[in-house]
């Protein structure tokens, strides 16, 4: 005899719906929740706004840009035209007469592919391993953590170099994953320790007591609380991928198959002597600027995004939620106390 065979009458419990909401309305609500609200939040913070714009610029460059700008060809222009002098070669040319702007643009798609593959791989791996291990505890935890610890003890860069030399990867997404092969382990550990404290939260315990499956609890209760942290790390690993790949291309460890900013810098340094002659300096500076700007965009974006998952901020950007005053009062008195103590 269990709970289900009781049927109290007249109880709010037995309510079933009488109205139908159209599909369109539901879709609209979903769009609002997942796209419009985040967009509004991002837009309201200048760092996130600038960061997003910079990232958008690169995405455009990597998608539309390659259609608009012809691929660079040897000898298409004069050798070493300085930047901002010739409108058909806005950023100048290298010592072979290649258009630098076209090179930067055409290096973007593989770079984006690498970033997405690498950053996704790190964060998804770390989140899955970290949350699962932290929430489950016991033997699962021990095994998973042993595995991550082993990965952590292997020095990252040498491992990447060895693998790159052996495999000679050409596919950008493979490169992305190789570059972050053991970067996720540290993140997984950090996430696990956060999950350890979160699993004791009352609302997580309540879900557990309601008999909800572990998967649901992880996805609905645990991960959303970690999202700011995960997102910041996603962006950080994106930067790592950019820097490592550029570094390895520059050092010539990764095969020169694609256009890459690192390859450009390598050539500028080795064949153009860009460090010694002012005439070739722009050859080195242009790809560098591309890298710095992208990384700057990432940093700004990351700084702005922790607001994205803050329910207080979200509520403010939703048009349907009712305003509540006690909240403001609480917030204020909270501030008072920290203020005076501080």
């Amino acid at each position: 005899m269990t709970a289900d065979d009781r049927t109290p009458d007249d109880v709010p419990f037995e309510t079933v719906s009488s109205s139908e909401v159209t599909r369109g309305e539901r879709i609209r609500a979903t769009i609002d929740e997942w796209i419009l609200v985040p967009a509004r939040i991002l837009w309201s913070d200048w760092r996130a706004r600038v960061g997003t714009l910079i990232m958008l610029l690169y995405v455009l460059m990597g998608t539309v840009g390659v259609w608009l700008v012809d691929a660079p060809q040897i000898g298409e222009g004069e050798r070493l035209i300085p930047p901002f002098t010739d409108p058909s070669y806005p950023l100048g040319t290298d010592s072979m007469g290649n258009d630098l702007f076209a090179q930067v643009v055409h290096a973007t798609p593989p770079m984006l592919e690498m970033i997405v593959a690498g950053a996704l791989f790190t964060t998804v791996m770390a989140t899955i391993v970290g949350t699962f291990s932290g929430y489950k505890g016991g033997r699962t935890d021990k095994l998973l953590m042993m595995f991550t610890d082993i990965l952590l003890t292997i020095p990252g860069l040498p491992l990447v170099i060895v693998i790159a030399v052996i495999l000679e990867p050409r596919e950008p997404w493979v490169i992305g994953i190789i570059l972050t092969l053991n970067a996720w382990a540290g993140l997984a550990r950090a996430i696990r320790s956060q999950v350890l404290t979160m699993r004791e939260e009352s609302f997580v315990e309540a879900s557990r007591l309601m008999g909800l499956p572990t998967r649901t609890i992880l996805v609905k209760d645990i991960v959303p609380g970690l999202m700011p942290y995960i997102l910041v790390n996603f962006v950080n690993s994106a930067r790592t991928v950019v820097f490592t790949s550029v570094g390895l291309y520059f050092l010539g460890i990764l095969p020169f198959t694609n256009h890459n900013w690192g390859v450009m810098m390598n050539l500028a340094y080795t064949t153009g002597g860009a460090l010694y002659t002012l005439r070739a300096a722009h050859w080195l500076l242009v790809p560098m600027a591309a890298i710095v700007l992208l990384s700057f965009g990432f940093i700004l974006f990351a700084q702005g995004t922790d607001r994205l998952f803050n329910p207080r901020v979200r509520a403010r950007h939703e048009n349907n939620a009712g305003a509540n005053s006690s909240d403001d009062a609480d917030e204020n008195s909270g501030k008072v106390s920290t203020h005076i103590q501080g």
Binding site: M1, T2, A3, D4, R6, P8, V11, P12, F13, T15, V16, S17, S19, E20, V21, R26, E201, S202, F203, E205, A206, S207, R208, L209, M210, G211, L212, P213, T216, K220, D221, P224, G225, M227, F309, P311, R312, R314, A315, E318, N320, A321, G322, A323, N324, S325, S326, D327, D328, A329, D330, N332, S333, K335, V336, S337, T338, H339, I340, Q341
Partner: protein, 745 residues
């Protein structure tokens, strides 16, 4: 009534302000308002407040959360946070002839004023201390920052700590987390007094603590106030708590003071309708259960305070005058120190009667318990391994076994209410979680409708009721309303989660409707609005309602309510408990109600004809029908708890507790014999050797006590010598000390 009383609230004359002024004020507040500019309009969180604080008095400021009482404290110190603007005058008189305009001070002068002249203590000592430095560093930093003499300052610090019954050497070298909550709060009080301020402003300083500790701290505060000639402003939502301590009380409602007067006047002859209702709404041990009732309606929003008397929407006496104009203060019975801001104060006592005299028949409330237990615990033990950061002295020890629950048997019936009462650390939460199968016992058995719960989980033997069904039938409502809901999910999503998983037959629309109707049922309307909110947009009481609904959506047989109302304002508790009881009728569920507060337990269990069980160090020491336990407590520990439950008596001073040590012994090494003997005022030698037990054969509705004093005269207790614990300072000794004394025997 003068004509200009109809000209609107801002011009309403506050005619009789005599009580608001005092002869020798140390702080004067005139026309102080605090406003915040918000999207929705101007939020006025302090509204033209006039009040003086008398030198060397203890002033109790009482109000519900959101009544502006914290803002009053901040305003006193010109510490209103940034977007807020403070207007009016605040004058501080270091001595009767000097005055300082607080709002005129430079930031540097203000900083000095805040520590050296007026200092503040807040709720939650944990967040006030820096966890990475020792208590000594906190003292030294404070002394240094204000250029005081270090040696002298530290000497004073030690004296203060001793006054607060803390051992200076040990406490100074400890890190904050190594001290119990009560010790931290006492250390914080010492810290705030180290620069010898004249005024101490305390904002809910004890709210997070056990009642027993609260009362003990208050009695210490009383001593401190006398010894150091302090002026204390004590801000709280808990009227009974300060009633015995304060010289004067000021009741706040809607960002201004409704009634001000001497404490005994306010309690004996409350005059403002709000004060009267508040007194009725506070759970206590003396008022008959039927008399307690919540205040209807909600406290106003600071953006939109009602016109006229701000209390009129909730006031049973309100008439057109009240709606049109703001009442001035009227002297009550021509006394010049008791005033109430109400037009009809003379009628208030007729309309809102209070039974201050004790002659009322206790109507018998009969519960509807079934004969067969739903959940039954037999000889349950729960022992944990001690974690590394246990007590103060245990940091270097090996992990120890904590006896959280020891050999407890308890049956919970259908439609039953059992309230477990005890101090923190007595194992009541662990026992509760064990009963709802959230915690696996290390010994004994837990059965749900005769099915062993953990056998069902492990699939041992014949499993008649699958664990899944058991899991659904045993639910929990947590203590902290803020933490019991996922902050990232809206109310709707949180409530839908169990339905999605268990009632797969329902589609999205049905779920939504059901959630709406439940919200509506518990008085959260319009439900569409509430369903779309995030938890932070709800008040504490609303959050607790949502948590309760979520548990009920599972249609459980037993709900563990772990301190479910303790975090709420006293005035809200009755309301939420009433709701829980009403829902019990509707859903046929039982409650296991856990509280450190005897009066909440009494209200909740008493109104359902349930039982109260008193726990001490992992054991149930007394259990029986609620009213019986309250009216006739037998175990010395229950008597202590009853003492700690402040009642609305003012003439009795805050006296010494009837107990010989206020901190609970270390559950790692529980005292031998009767576990209470280290603190028991009645303890005799035999108590240290033998263990009293509850009568196993008595039925569940009998009053049972585990104390030798209930045994007959032939028991050796009556022959043996009283245990003499000598020094009185033992009273506030730390628990581990008690354990040490014990092992020396």
């Amino acid at each position: 009534m003068s004509d200009n009383s109809f000209t609107g609230r801002s011009e309403a004359t506050k005619a009789d302000v005599s009580a608001i002024q005092v002869d020798d004020p140390i702080l004067e507040m005139r026309d102080a308002s605090v406003t915040f500019d918000m999207d929705r309009g101007e939020s006025r969180v302090l509204d033209q407040v006039n009040l003086d604080v008398q030198r060397n008095e203890i002033l109790g400021v009482v109000g519900e959360s959101g009544s502006g009482k914290s803002m009053f404290a901040s305003a006193l110190l010109d510490a209103v946070v940034d977007p807020g603007t403070l207007s009016g005058d605040i004058t501080y008189h270091p001595d009767p002839d000097r005055s300082v305009d607080v709002l005129d001070l430079s930031p540097e002068q203000l900083r000095e004023l805040r520590w050296e002249e007026i200092s503040m203590v807040f709720q939650g000592a944990q967040s006030s201390f820096n966890p990475t430095t020792t208590i000594r560093d906190h003292f030294e930093e404070t002394i240094e920052a204000h250029n005081y003499d270090m040696a002298q300052g530290m000497a004073h610090a030690r004296e203060l700590l001793e006054d607060l019954y803390l051992e200076p050497d040990r406490v100074l070298d400890a890190y904050p987390h190594e001290l119990s909550g009560g010790m931290q709060q006492r250390a914080l009080i010492a810290l705030s007094l180290v620069l010898e301020p004249n005024v101490l402003v305390m904002d809910e300083p004890t709210a997070a603590l056990d009642l027993l500790m609260q009362r003990s701290i208050l009695s210490l505060l009383n001593d401190l106030q006398e010894k150091y000639d302090l002026t204390v402003v004590f801000i709280t939502h808990d009227l009974p708590l300060v009633a015995g301590l304060a010289d004067r009380l000021a009741v706040m409602y809607a960002f201004e003071f409704a009634e001000v007067g001497p404490a005994d006047e306010i309690i004996r002859n409350p005059t403002h309708p709000y004060t009267r209702s508040l007194l009725k709404a506070v759970p206590n041990l003396d008022t008959p259960l039927q008399e307690m009732q919540p205040i209807e309606g909600m406290a106003p929003d600071p953006v939109d305070v009602p016109e006229g008397c701000s209390y009129h929407p909730r006031c049973p006496l309100a008439d057109d005058v009240c709606r049109a104009s703001n009442p001035a203060y009227h002297a009550v019975d021509d006394s010049d120190d008791h005033v109430a801001a109400c037009f009809h104060w003379e009628q208030a006592s007729d309309v809102l009667s209070l039974t201050t005299d004790g002659e009322t028949e206790h109507a018998e409330i009969v519960g509807k318990q079934s004969a067969d237990p739903v959940v039954s615990l037999t000889d349950v033990d729960v022992h944990f391994e001690q974690e590394a950061d246990g007590g103060l002295l245990s940091i270097f020890d090996d992990p120890d076994l904590v006896h959280a629950v020891d050999d407890v048997s308890l049956d919970v019936y259908e439609n039953d209410v059992v309230a477990l009462v005890g101090e923190s650390g007595c194992g009541k939460t662990t026992l509760g979680k064990t009963s709802i199968a959230a915690q696996r016992p290390t010994g004994g058995s837990v059965t749900y409708r005769e099915q062993d719960v953990w056998d069902a989980k492990d699939g041992v033997g014949d499993v008649e009721t699958p664990f899944e069904a058991i899991r659904r039938s045993l639910q929990m409502v947590h203590q902290d309303p803020g933490g019991s809901l996922n902050p990232n999910r809206k109310v709707q999503a949180s409530l839908e989660a169990p339905l999605k998983h268990w009632n797969t037959g329902m589609d999205a629309e049905d779920r939504k409707e059901r959630v709406f109707s439940m919200l509506e049922y518990v008085g959260m309307s319009p439900p569409e609005d509430y369903a779309g909110r995030y938890p932070h947009q709800l008040s504490g009481g609303e959050q607790q309602r949502v948590a309760l609904i979520r548990a009920l959506l599972m249609n459980p047989d037993l709900i563990l309510a772990d301190e479910a109302v303790s975090a709420l304002d006293v005035s809200l508790r009755v309301e939420v408990m009433d709701l829980m009881l009403e829902l019990q009728d509707v859903f046929d569920t039982s409650y296991l109600f856990i509280s450190h507060n005897l009066s909440n337990a009494r209200y909740f269990a008493g109104n359902a004809g349930g039982r109260i069980g008193v726990m001490y160090l992992g054991e149930i020491v007394e259990i029986g029908p609620a009213e019986e336990i309250i009216a006739n407590p037998k175990h010395p520990y229950t008597k202590v708890l009853k003492w700690s439950t402040a009642d609305l008596e003012v003439d009795q001073d805050v006296e010494e507790p009837p107990i010989s040590s206020i901190d609970i012994p270390d559950p790692v090494d529980p005292p031998s014999g009767c576990r209470f003997h280290t603190r028991c005022p009645e303890a005799r030698e035999a108590c240290a050797r033998q263990q009293p037990s509850l009568d196993e054969h008595a039925s569940d509705d009998e009053h049972r006590v585990a104390c030798f004093r209930e045994y007959d005269q032939s028991h050796e207790y009556w022959e043996s010598e009283p245990i003499d614990d000598g020094e009185s300072t033992d009273l506030f000794a730390d628990g581990s000390d008690a354990a040490e004394i014990e092992s020396d025997d």
